[in-house]
Amino acid sequence: MGVAAVLPGPADFAAWRNAARGLLAAGVRPEDAEWRVAGDAPGLFAEDAPPPAAGAAFHVPRAFVELAEIAIRHSDPERFALLYRVLWRLTHGEHALMQVATDPDVVRLSAMAKAVKRDAHKMHAFLRFRQVETEAGTRHVAWFEPEHHIEEAEAGFFVRRFAGLRWSIVTPRRSVHWDGQALSFGPGGRRAEVPPDDAVEPLWRAYYAAIFNPARLKPGAMRAEMPRKYWRNMPETAEIPRMLAEAPKRVAEMVARGGSAPNPNPQRPRHLAAASRVAADMDLLDASTDPKAALAALARELAGRNDLPDFARRATQAVFGEGPIGAPLFFVGEQPGDEEDIQGRPFVGPAGRLWNRALGDAGVPRDEAYVTNAVKHFKFAPTGKRRLHQSPDAGDIAYYRPFLLREIGIVGPRLLVALGATALRALTGKAMPVMKTRGTIVDGPEGLPVFATVHPSFLLRIPDQDGQQREYAKFVDDLRAARAQVH
């Protein structure tokens, strides 16, 4: 025996849910239930009142509720029945049905929800307000023809966006009004209720025509995203026939004209700062006497090289050292990492922060330490949103070695501290095992002593905490021993 459920409105999800609960509790099979909206013509089971909503609760997946709330706004008269059939299946042994995206009922329900969402999105996009002056002040009024029952659901979007305006949206089925304080809904209206034009529209149409590039004609792509049915309520679309008609001629003219002669009166800089060449020359003058200027000149020289390794061209900038001129301890790391490359400063990344902490724990005052890298550019391999560090090879180290040696010459330290294998190689000119050399003094450039220890990134790579602490303590000991060499 069939029953009929009569809903008060075309998109009333609460009422549908209530009725569906009742039918489900009474065990009414989907094929025995008929769904109507009040005011529709009566159907087959017109005489049967729906069973009352029962207290029994039914557990259905959240995914169903979320989809159903949207799909119920679809204009297809069968939407209520489809929803009830899916609900029936979910509560009769197919609890995972929503995950079976290939099931025909799920496919249909998803397609309905998608169509409703698209309709809503197009309403947000293509609805145009016209501004009218009334005795009660300025109002914004729009006429729109949605395909589905979305007026009430989408009113909130326009409230959030235009809360400070007073507006009305009129559609064939409903009208929505916002008076600056509250929403109200009324019956549908006619297009004639909305003013036929607006003072700003000529400007908007001019913009629409001017932003179009005639050399990229793709009218099919335009119609796919902006179907013709929306055009009559969008003032700018009146320009389309002219734009399409003129485009080929405009492009042909551009191509036929070819390159044109430069303007005899080109735009000229009026207040552009003079090139900084004078300042650069000043630096060069000072470089022989002022170590800071000499370091700046060295950095400029590197930037100006046209034989930089390929990876250097992909880095953000060369990173030179930091610290006081004349610092007795000269620390050399491997190369700038991701953060150093961005900031243009050495030892500001994770390994650098660890080195800084160890320096403090070893009691080395910052004004005794200058810190730099053997290689001055970040060598990396891009992976998605990260740049993975790549070790510099012997050729890379050799390329930057003269710059490192001149940096040492300018700073004038008493002890060079090699942090890791790359630094050790750069300072001694040969490959040496760090772990065996660690804690000892070897010969460096110009007879300067080199004290070897590990790179702080080695500490970061130790997996277990005990090992980390043990190695950190050894590293601090090394730094303390290095300092003892110069005191």
Binding site: R161, W204, Y208, M222
Partner: protein, 423 residues
């Protein structure tokens, strides 16, 4: 010159910048005053007959420019008419269009006049007036001038949702030849500076001092590369793009086919824009970001450092790696499903979820609106085993018989807009 004429000149001058996004910024609305809202999803308020989305009022403050970039309609030596908006005119146009629900906000750029700082300050002033004097809550995208004072950049980031610096050409030598005033290292450093500020603001917003978080470009930064103005191949373009994504965390790299302009330079005479190539680059970009491919893999699908124009790069890659196929839709891990031509990321998620409860058959793909002709040669289902995987004619069969495929051969104009889902 009246406002309409200015608008026509300064919109015309701005249209070669492909960026149109209005998505991904912080959520805001006007229920506590002001005008406008941003809800995460971008909105295209209209489409022009070039298939491009019109989301923002995209204009230049002025098309006067002292830079002489050969590819640019506004270069110093061009004969185009020059115009200049006042700050108030841009503000009023933005608000007037916004109130009619015609735009999501403003994308403001400018030719370089006087000095980089002076120009940047004008851009910032527009954004500040919109935000502070009118409580504008809509979307603002500001072009950033690489050499501008860091203080101005900081202000720009406070008012704008997105900032962008256009790299324009994928390598330093091309820039030197075609845009002598532009400086690639300076552009990189400026992008690095933006990344540092954007991440700083994000960290701050996540941390305890939420209320005091200084806002900085919540929708991130993007850039644009022109395709076909210089001799760079696709490998170079995608190599630069991957470095930019990884190094500066760009939200988007836009590829813009070099297009005829009304007053082209003799250095770069007008040509038909390489639209198919541009489209393939966007598809390749998607493969890099969402499908787990490396740049070298994508490029290996083509020949000599160029992508295959006749086929989408995923199909092109698969045809050259046939031993990786067929993929069993009922058993293969997600990463391998993502590599199947014709299967988009969403479809893959649906298949992975569905196959826990049911067996996948070929007809299921059709229900999910997947192109069975495209997918079938590469997959195994309960009712299907591919037979043509080793066939020499497979490539010909897969080249779509659409206007797009015809255009791919002739360098013509067709195809879906780049904002569409691409597989």
């Amino acid at each position: 010159m009246d406002l309409k004429q200015k608008l026509e000149i300064l919109a015309d001058a701005a249209k070669y910048d492909a960026s149109c996004a209005s998505s991904g910024t912080a959520k805001r609305d006007s229920t506590r005053g002001g005008l406008g809202s941003t809800e995460g999803m971008g909105i295209c308020h209209a489409y022009a007959p070039d298939g491009r989305c019109i989301s923002l009022l995209k204009i230049l403050l002025t098309n006067a420019c002292v830079f002489d970039c050969a590819y640019c309609v506004n270069r110093a030596s061009s004969n185009v008419r020059r115009a200049r908006f006042t700050v108030e005119e841009v503000v009023k146009l933005t608000l007037d269009f916004y109130r009619r629900n015609a735009i999501e906000g403003l994308f403001l750029s400018s030719g370089i006049i006087r000095s980089p700082d002076w120009t940047m300050e004008q851009l910032v002033r527009v954004a500040r007036t919109l935000r502070e004097d009118h409580g504008f809550q809509g979307y603002i995208h500001l072009k950033t001038i690489p050499d501008a004072d860091p203080l101005l950049v900081e202000q720009a980031g406070r008012y704008a949702d997105r900032l962008s610096i256009n790299i324009e050409l994928p390598q330093a030598d091309s820039l030197k030849a075609l845009a002598p005033e532009k400086d690639l290292p300076a552009i990189r450093q400026a992008m690095g500076g933006l990344r540092a500020r954007i991440e700083g603001a994000q960290d701050e917003a996540r941390g305890a001092r939420r209320a005091k978080a200084p806002r900085f470009a919540p929708a991130g930064q993007s850039t644009q590369m022109i395709v076909g103005a210089d001799a760079s191949d696709d490998a170079t373009i995608l190599g630069t793009a991957t470095d930019l994504y990884a190094g500066y965390r760009l939200k988007r790299v836009y590829y813009s086919a070099y297009s005829p302009v009304p007053d082209a330079s003799r250095v770069l005479p007008p040509i038909a824009p390489p639209l198919v190539r541009e489209h393939r680059l966007y598809q390749a970009d998607w493969m890099l970001r969402f499908y787990g491919f490396s740049k070298d893999e994508v490029i290996a699908g083509g020949e000599g450092g160029m992508l295959d124009l006749a086929l989408d790069p995923k199909t092109a890659w698969a045809l050259k790696h046939r031993t990786d196929f067929p993929v069993d839709l009922n058993r293969a891990p997600r990463e391998r499903l993502l590599r199947v031509p014709g299967l988009g990321a969403k479809t893959v998620e649906k298949l992975v979820a569905a196959r826990r409860h049911t067996r996948i058959r070929l007809e299921d793909l059709a229900r999910l609106r997947v192109s069975v002709a495209k997918v079938a040669p590469f997959v195994v289902t309960d009712d299907h085993r591919p037979r043509l995987l080793d066939s020499a004619g497979l490539r010909e069969r897969l080249i779509p018989g659409t206007a797009f495929a015809a255009a791919a051969g002739g360098g013509g104009q067709a195809g879906r807009p780049v904002q569409m889902s691409l597989f």
